[in-house]
Assembly symmetry: D3
Homo-oligomer: 249 residues x 6
Amino acid sequence: MKNLLYKLTRPEIEEYLRNSDVVLFPVGSTEQHGKHMAIDNDAFTALEISKRVAEKTGVLVAPVMPFGYSIHHMKFAGSITLKFETLVAVYKEVCESLIHHGFKKIVIMNGHGGNINAVNQALREVRSEQGVIVYNVMVFPMEDGFGSDSLKVCKQESGGHACEMETSVGLALGQRIIIGNAEKWTPPKLMTEFDKKYSTKVATARDFHEITEIGSLGDPTIASIEKGEEMVNAVVREISEFVEDLKKI
Amino acid sequence: MKNLLYKLTRPEIEEYLRNSDVVLFPVGSTEQHGKHMAIDNDAFTALEISKRVAEKTGVLVAPVMPFGYSIHHMKFAGSITLKFETLVAVYKEVCESLIHHGFKKIVIMNGHGGNINAVNQALREVRSEQGVIVYNVMVFPMEDGFGSDSLKVCKQESGGHACEMETSVGLALGQRIIIGNAEKWTPPKLMTEFDKKYSTKVATARDFHEITEIGSLGDPTIASIEKGEEMVNAVVREISEFVEDLKKI
Amino acid sequence: MKNLLYKLTRPEIEEYLRNSDVVLFPVGSTEQHGKHMAIDNDAFTALEISKRVAEKTGVLVAPVMPFGYSIHHMKFAGSITLKFETLVAVYKEVCESLIHHGFKKIVIMNGHGGNINAVNQALREVRSEQGVIVYNVMVFPMEDGFGSDSLKVCKQESGGHACEMETSVGLALGQRIIIGNAEKWTPPKLMTEFDKKYSTKVATARDFHEITEIGSLGDPTIASIEKGEEMVNAVVREISEFVEDLKKI
Amino acid sequence: MKNLLYKLTRPEIEEYLRNSDVVLFPVGSTEQHGKHMAIDNDAFTALEISKRVAEKTGVLVAPVMPFGYSIHHMKFAGSITLKFETLVAVYKEVCESLIHHGFKKIVIMNGHGGNINAVNQALREVRSEQGVIVYNVMVFPMEDGFGSDSLKVCKQESGGHACEMETSVGLALGQRIIIGNAEKWTPPKLMTEFDKKYSTKVATARDFHEITEIGSLGDPTIASIEKGEEMVNAVVREISEFVEDLKKI
Amino acid sequence: MKNLLYKLTRPEIEEYLRNSDVVLFPVGSTEQHGKHMAIDNDAFTALEISKRVAEKTGVLVAPVMPFGYSIHHMKFAGSITLKFETLVAVYKEVCESLIHHGFKKIVIMNGHGGNINAVNQALREVRSEQGVIVYNVMVFPMEDGFGSDSLKVCKQESGGHACEMETSVGLALGQRIIIGNAEKWTPPKLMTEFDKKYSTKVATARDFHEITEIGSLGDPTIASIEKGEEMVNAVVREISEFVEDLKKI
Amino acid sequence: MKNLLYKLTRPEIEEYLRNSDVVLFPVGSTEQHGKHMAIDNDAFTALEISKRVAEKTGVLVAPVMPFGYSIHHMKFAGSITLKFETLVAVYKEVCESLIHHGFKKIVIMNGHGGNINAVNQALREVRSEQGVIVYNVMVFPMEDGFGSDSLKVCKQESGGHACEMETSVGLALGQRIIIGNAEKWTPPKLMTEFDKKYSTKVATARDFHEITEIGSLGDPTIASIEKGEEMVNAVVREISEFVEDLKKI
C-alpha cells in the first residue's frame, strides 16, 4: 500500500513530497466489454498497471477515475458516460489539486481510448494555465506507444475491444472474465458497404452497436494468460523506464 | 463480487435489470484525515458500507466516485477537490447513465459532508429533468440519519473529522489507520473569540486549517474497533431496511 | 432612509466608506406562502429585519434580491425560481461589486431556506477568489441560529412554511396577511408511508405540493402579533449584537 | 397593493390568472447617479412607472430586479453590476417562471439603458425556446419610444445621466434627490479630441468616469417637478395604451 | 495582398508589428438577402470595405468571420446562425490573439446589424479583462455613423435589408446580385395592426419572416451602381480618416 | 460560383435543396506556417480542395471557418486561436443551421490537424442531439486518409508543418509562398533528449516553438508544384468518389 497515495496519511504524503514530485493518475471508464469481461475493465487496467509501475519506480498512485467518455457504448447495458466537458474538468481539477500540493510531474495513466481527447484537452489547459506539463500514457500496449513490440504475441493486427489483446491482459491482471462467453466478432447487419469502405478514411460519430452486435471487436477466444503476461510485463517495464527518466529531468 | 455492478459482464447486468431497478452509487472524497487516517477515508467508507448493504439486500453497487468537494481542506497536503459545478455534473451524468439503462431507484451513498450540497443539487436536477427520484443517504451514523442510536457508544456530542466516531468506524471497516499518530483536537491559534462565539449561528466559508492545526476534530485517541462495529452494524442494518422498503415501492 | 445604501447618493456612500466597511445584503424569494400570506414574504422579511438591524447598528442595507431558488414550489401559482447556478452568480457578483467599493464585511441576510446552499456556495467562492469572508445569517429565528430562545413562544417544534412562526413574524412586521384564509396542515394524499418513514433520514428532491395540498406547513391559525414581536425583537437584538462584534474585528 | 403580484396570496394570483395573462416585470439597476440622486434610481423608476401603468390598466406588477449591467460605472462608489450572461439568465428565468404559471404577455419595464442588450437577448431566447413573445419597454421618455413628445419640456437634446430629464422624472416620482448638490456637466480631462470626434460614430467600451468627472451628464440644475410630471404622465398614458392594446390581442 | 494579414508570412507580420499596431477585423454573417443577393453579403461587404480602407491607410486586415447572429432569419433557407454567447466568444478570442501578438488598436468592421450587441459585449469584456480598447465600426453608411451624408442618394428613409442602399453598395463592390429578381417590399399577412403601431416603440424578438414574405425590406429595384459607388466612397473615406486618426493616438 | 453556397441567392438554395442534401463545410485555421507560407494556409487549402471536389460532384461549399485551435502556435506572430469549447460550439451551430434547412449530409473538410478533436467532438454531439451523421475529412493527403498513395512523391515519412508535402500542395493550389525563405528543420535547442525519446509514445501539451525554431517542420526546400499537383489530384479524386458514394446512400 505504500505506493498508493490514497492509502497514506497526510504526514506520509508530506514526507513523500519532500523527496519527489511524481504521481501517476489512473483514468478509466465503466463501459460494457462484450459478453465476457467485467465492465470496469478500463479503470481496473489503468489502476493495476499503475500499481505495478509504482512498485518498480517508487512513485505514488492517485485514486483511479472510474468514469470516462463512453457515449458510443450507451446502447449496451451498464455503460456509464460523462459529458466531454465534465470529464475534461475532472481531469483538470484533479491535476490542479495535485499541483497545488507540489506534485509537478503528473502522469495520466489512461485505460480507455475514448478518453484520449479529453485527457489531451485537459493537459493542454493545465499547461496553459498552470505552466505544468502533464503526461498522457496509454496503459495497454499500442502500435505507437509503450509495449509495442509485445503486440507480436497477438494475431490481431489493429485495435479492438474486449479483444484478444485486451482479454489476455485482463487474464494476466486477474480481471473477472467469463472466458466461456467470449465470442469472435462478425460484421453486424447494421454495417453497410459504405461504412466498411470509408471506416478508416473518414471520421464520424459511429455508435458501437453499429459495428458489433456482441459488444466486442476482434477474437477474444484466442486470448491467453501467457500472452497477457508478456504484454503486461512489456508495458510495465517501458512505462517504468519512462518514469525513471521523468524523475531525472 | 456478485453485488458489484462494475465487476459484472453486460449479460449479467441485463439479467439483473430484468428483475430489479435498484442501485447504490457510493460517493466520497480524497481529503486529508488528520495524522492517522488514510486520505481516501470518505470514499473507502462509502464503498464499504455500500458493499455490506448490497450483500444484505441483493442490490448492486456502482463504482465509487473518489473525488469530492474538499476546497476547505486544500491547505493540507493530499486533499483533492473538484469544483462544485463539476461535481454536480458528475453525479448527474452518472445517474442519467444508470437511468438510461433502467435503474430507476438510485441511492447515493455519501461518505463526505462536503458533498451534501452537490448531491442534493444533482438529485434536484435529475428529478426535474428525468422525473426520477434519487435518494441521498449518509453512510456514517448521524444524529438525524441512519444509525443515530448507535452514536451513544461515542463520547463526542457532535460532528467531527477523523474523530472518535469516524476513526472507530474506520477501524471496524479495516481502513489503514496509524492509531499511534492520532491526536486530540485543541483550539488552534487562528481561532478568535469572535469565531467561537458565532461558529454555529453564522455560516461562512471557514477553511479547515483555521479550526484545526492537526487536521482532525474531536478525540480519535478514544476510538475503538468495538465502537466502530456497533455503529457499522447499526448503519448497515438501517440502510438495508430502507433499501428493502425501497424495493417494494 | 439613512441606513439604506440604495437611497443614498454617491457622495454619501463615499462618506460612509471612509468610516465603515459593513453592509447587509438581504436575499429572499418570491414564492407562494399558502392561502394567507403574500408571496414576497421571504424577501419582505429579509429586508425588514435588515432595516431594523441597520437602524440599531448604523450599518447600511443593500437592495433586497427578490428572486431565489424555489424550484420545489413551481406547482403553486406565483412562485418564481432562478436556476441554482444563476442565483450563485447573482450573489457572487453583488458581493464582488460591494467588495470593489470597499465593503469588506458583508452579511447576507437570508429569508429563504431554499437559498441556503446557493448562499453558502457563493460565499465559498468569494472567499477563494477575493479573500473576503462573507457571513450568512438567517433572518427567521432558528433552533441553531439567532433568536433560538424566542422560538419557545410557538407551539410548533420544527420548521414549517407560512406556519405559526412565519405568520407571527409576518404579522409583527406588517406583512400583508389574510389571516382568515390560514389553514392548519394535514397530511396530503400524495404522501406515502414510505415518504413519512424516511422523510428526515433520507434527503431527496421532494416537490412541495407532495407534502402539502394547501401550500403551507404547520398551523398558522394560532399565529399572533405578540408571538411575532417577541421573535422579531430577539432576532434583531441578536443579529445586531453580531454586527456590533463584526464592526470591531 | 392589489396590482402588485408580490403582495398577493396564491389564491388571489390564481383568480387573476383565470381572467388575464398580462404582467409587468420592472428591471433596473443600482448605480451611481451623480452627486444628487439616490443610486436606486433606475430600479425605483421602473417600479414606480409600472405601478402607475398597472393602476390604470388593472394588470399586475412583478418584483423589480434591482441589479443590472453597470460595469461602466464601477469606478464610482455604490454601483453594483452583474455579468451580462448572469443578467440574461435572471431575466429569462423570471420570464420562464411567469410563463409556467400562465402569464403569456410579459412586458419588461426597463429603467436602465445598460440593460437593453441583456433584455433583448433574454426575450430573443425566451421566444426561441418557449414560443412566447416578451415586450421590452423603456420607462423613461425616449426620442423613439413612449412619451417622446413630452421630451419637448426639456432643453437637453439627447440622452444623459441623472440629467434634466431623469432628475425631473425623479422629482415627480418622489425619488430621494439632494437637488442642491446637482451640477452641470463639463467635459472631463480624460476626454480627448479623438474621443469627441468619434463618440457617436464608433462604438467602444467607454467607462463612465472617462466622460464625466461628476458622475452625471447634462444639466440637472434646470430640472423641475413640473417637467417631470408632464413626462411621467405622458409615459404612463402611452404605455397604458400599449398595455390595453396588448390585452386585446 | 500586402494589406491582408492572412496572406502574409510570419516574418512579414513581425516586420509590420515593429511599426504599427492597427488591424481591421471584418465580421459579417451568412444569411439570406432576399431573392436577389448572395447570402454572404454582410461578410463580403465587411471584407471589401476593409480592404479598401486598408489600402488607403496601410493597415492590415484579419480574416473575415463569416458567421454571425442571424437567428431571426432561420425560417429562410441558407441562413446560418451562431448562438449569441458563441459569437461573443469568437470575437473576444480573436481580439485576444491579436492583442497577444502586439496589435493594440483593433477595429471591428461589422457588416451585420444583428452582430452589434455581440460585438459590443465582446469589446466590453476585452477592455475589462485586457485593458485594450477595441473599436466597433459599421461598414454600411448609417444615419449616425460613417458615410451618413451619402445616404441622401437613396430614397429610403430608414434601415432595410437587401434594400436600395444595401443592393447599391453590393453592385458597387461587385457582389453577385440577380437584379432581375429584386422585389419591392409590401407588408406581409403576418403583420398585424398591433405590430405596426408599436414596431418602433417596443422592442421584441420579431422573426424576419413576420415582417417580410420575400426576405428583403425596402425597394431594391431602384438600386444602382452609381448610388453604391457614392456611398462606398464616402464610407471608405470616412473610416480611413478615422483609422489615420487612430494611428496617431 | 454555382458551387459556392454563400454566393447563391435564397431561391437558388431552395432549388438545390429540392434535389440534394449534401454540403461541404471547410474549416481551417489562421496560424503561422514558417518563414515562407501565408498564415491562412489551412483555411485556404480547406476551401480550395472543397471547391475542386464540389466542381467534380456538383455539391455546395459553405463558407470556410478561418479560425481554429492553434494554441500551441501562439508564441509565433500572427497565429490566432479560439478556445476548444468555442470552436466545438461554432462547428456544432453551423451544422445545426445547415441541418435546419435540410442539409442532411454534411462533410467537414478540415485543413488543420489541431482542429481534429474539436471537429470530432462537434460531430459526436450533433449526432447525439440531432440524429444526423456528419463526416470529418482531412483535405491534405494522409497515411490513413484520402490520397495516401500520392504521398509517395514526397521524401518525408511522417507529418510535418509547412513541410515538403504542405508546401507542394500550396504551390499547386496557388497559395502565396515566398519559396526563397523556406528552410529545412533542424532540432531546436529547447528539445531535450527526454523529449526526443518519448515524443511519439507519450502525448503532452508541447508548444510548437519547443520543437521548431523556424516555425516549420520537415524540408520545404524540396517542395515542387509537380508533387503538389499529384497530391491535390489524388485527394480531390478520392474525396469526390466518397462524395459520390455519399450521395447514393
